[in-house]
Symmetry: C2
Subunit: 411 residues, 2 copies
């Protein structure tokens, strides 16, 4: 059965998707019975040298008004014009599959609702975790589980930088320069380095697991600019690595969601995810811990996820089988107040009186560190308690050099 | 929408499934819209003290003839009567979901075909990898990829034993005794220890990826009885661990499928999968390497996979959306002749003349080992070449103490 599709945006991911659908066309047909043909590729450029030059169009109307086109991949990125194009296509009854984390994390509720009303689907596996199948397994394979935790290394750029700091012994600035030289970091790396990219992805993961889309501005987000080589080494000396994690934790009536660097002990499967790889750990009340690991970015890996959604949507266009996930906006009370989030903390101080730590933090576990500093792990305490104690120790004359939360998990 | 289901066999997995469907009933209903009710539980026992005593039946006819029952979980295990019951239910148009690796690996082709003809589905996620979503991702999420490799730690018992040998420094017999004491190994552990359990699972994985079911008797299967503590330590000294892997490799026109202990270097994500955990590494031509990690056995984890299939089949019973995977019997030529399988080999010899190794094996890489033995890694060679060289070195007076293949992967 022939299904005509279109791709919007022949950039890295769009190009990879076109290549996959071409190279693996016969395989997909024999495996699924769906004969996917790329009818149009929307791009602002002419691209006369592209192998897809004969299918380039510049006007979204061509795609929106062609009744033959059943499914469209949106690989433009950014909100505009991706939002307008997606909405228009969905309203025309065409399913859209997206690799656009920004659009999904900002307009997911609306676009899913538009799709549902129009009798088509809006799918977004490629928006999070690159090629790693994670959203579809969360939705289908873990449908029988109450999910209490999603913790992921969701950004390849920062994971590469932290890995280089750990294994190469280089400091943050040098590791960032290396990442730029290798093409793993953009010229302006703010979205990656400061955690905003990971925040979008954890919002999408949490919405998929819990059904409520948390606006990223409500997600406590910290990046990795403040991580010092001495912190990385101190962590290593106690069998831990520093990783930037996106975490959504639902325990009792509380939902915490945050992006921040964490000390991850080697016993946790997230500790060993290195370089540009991503990994997502999910805990379900029956399945226990699961880890999904793979390439979180790149043309080919992301194309794999776009293609999976394209194939599903194309099959569904024939059978009417798929339904849209139901997302609703987050409640006012979501997430819970971050001041109540409790964990252990790694703290490095300079200029501190030895007994001030005991008086203010009580029982601590010393961590070897550089001369002139004292570093330790606290016991479990809330963010509110940690801030209050840090204020007291600063008042005693100490200078906070570093504070990193500890990812303590017990299965 | 109410869907009545039945469970056949209230053992470990069946009991876990009943518990999940009861404990998480409301969650599943709110998430999927499917109101799953357990109408019958088939068991040979009366089980008056079970919370499900009111639903126990002893006669499969009750389930097969009840038009209200749409989906049945088969958690009996073994071939008989699971085969007869499954066939009868499928013929009656009831979808069956199975945790039974033996039945699926022996009768999968037939049962899938019966299901397809009867307009229902036969699903088997729980048969392989316990709670890890792996078959459904292979089928759907990786539908756009040509799969060239599936390599998995598929048996928790042997992985526990090997982990104890590595981390506890105990030998095989003591580690096996520990595994029995902890309930991780059965009184008769042959199916696990000798690789037969893993062979069934790699057959199911390969059939899911490639569409051809290879009979387990055609799978080259070795277990872990021959692994010595000195081999484990020798591997450790070169940054590797010994793991029992099920592997299906499809490269060019060749398909190799085997179960055997492998030296896995620490840089491979499979190396860090310890204790009773399972992990499956998949390589697709677009997605690259993926790893799926989690609990490969146990009541609750396996119930998670049974429930996922139950929910899918129940939704499908309402919408008619799902189709059966298409499996055909393996061709005569499948798998390729194992004598052509090429890899590096770890070899430990005693009573060997130093220069005999050079003469017979050419370039090798020495591996530190116990006194009185010589151990080394060979270069890449086929099984045929390895056997021929081992014969020659034996003829020279050496005694083969150990040979373990090396899992060399380059992404």
């Amino acid at each position: 059965m022939v299904v005509q599709v279109a791709i919007m945006g022949l950039g890295v991911v769009g190009g990879g998707t076109a290549d996959l659908l071409t190279e693996n066309h016969d395989l997909i047909l024999s495996r699924t019975g769906v004969d996917i043909r790329i009818k149009y590729i929307l791009d602002i450029r002419d691209l006369p040298d592209s192998p897809y030059a004969d299918r380039i169009v510049h006007d979204i109307s061509v795609i929106a008004s062609d009744p033959e086109v059943a499914v469209v991949a949106e690989t433009i990125g950014g909100v505009h014009p991706a939002y307008e194009f997606t909405r228009r296509l969905l309203e025309a009854g065409k399913s859209v599959v997206s690799s656009n984390k920004q659009l999904v994390s900002e307009y997911g509720v609306e676009l899913l609702s538009v799709a549902e009303k129009a009798g088509c689907v809006y799918l977004y596996e490629a928006s999070t975790g690159g090629g790693i199948p994670i959203l579809s397994p969360l939705r289908y394979d873990l449908a029988g589980n109450e999910i209490s935790e999603i913790s992921g290394i969701l950004n390849g750029t920062t994971n590469y930088i932290l890995t280089r700091m750990i294994s190469g012994g280089v400091d943050f600035e040098d590791a960032l320069a290396e990442a730029k030289a290798k093409g793993y970091a953009e010229a302006n790396p703010t979205a990656d380095i400061d955690g905003h990219d990971a925040a979008r992805k954890i919002a999408i993961l949490a919405a998929t697991a819990f059904g409520h889309l948390i606006p990223t501005e409500r997600i406590h987000t910290e990046g990795i600019r403040g991580i010092r080589l001495s912190d990385v080494r101190a962590a290593e000396s106690i069998g831990a690595r520093i990783k930037l994690l996106g975490r959504a934790l639902r325990l009792g009536g509380e939902l915490f969601i945050l992006v921040a660097p964490f000390l991850v002990f080697d016993s946790c499967p997230l500790a060993r995810i290195d370089d540009v790889y991503n990994g997502v750990l999910v805990h379900g009340n029956y399945v226990g811990d699961l880890l999904f690991y793979g390439r979180g970015a790149g043309a080919k890996a992301t194309a794999s996820a776009v293609a999976a959604d394209l194939i599903s949507a194309a099959s569904s266009a024939l059978t009417g089988a798929l339904t849209n996930p139901v997302w609703t906006p987050a409640d006012e009370s979501e997430p819970s107040d971050f001041a109540s989030f409790a964990c252990r903390h790694y703290i490095a101080l300079s200029g501190v009186e030895a007994n001030a730590v005991d008086v203010i933090f009580g029982k601590t576990e010393p961590v070897p560190t550089v001369e002139g500093e004292i570093a330790f792990l606290t016991e479990l305490m809330t963010e509110r308690e940690a801030l209050e104690r840090l204020e007291r120790i600063s008042a005693s004359g100490a200078t906070l050099q570093s504070r990193i939360r500890v990812c303590d998990r017990t299965e």
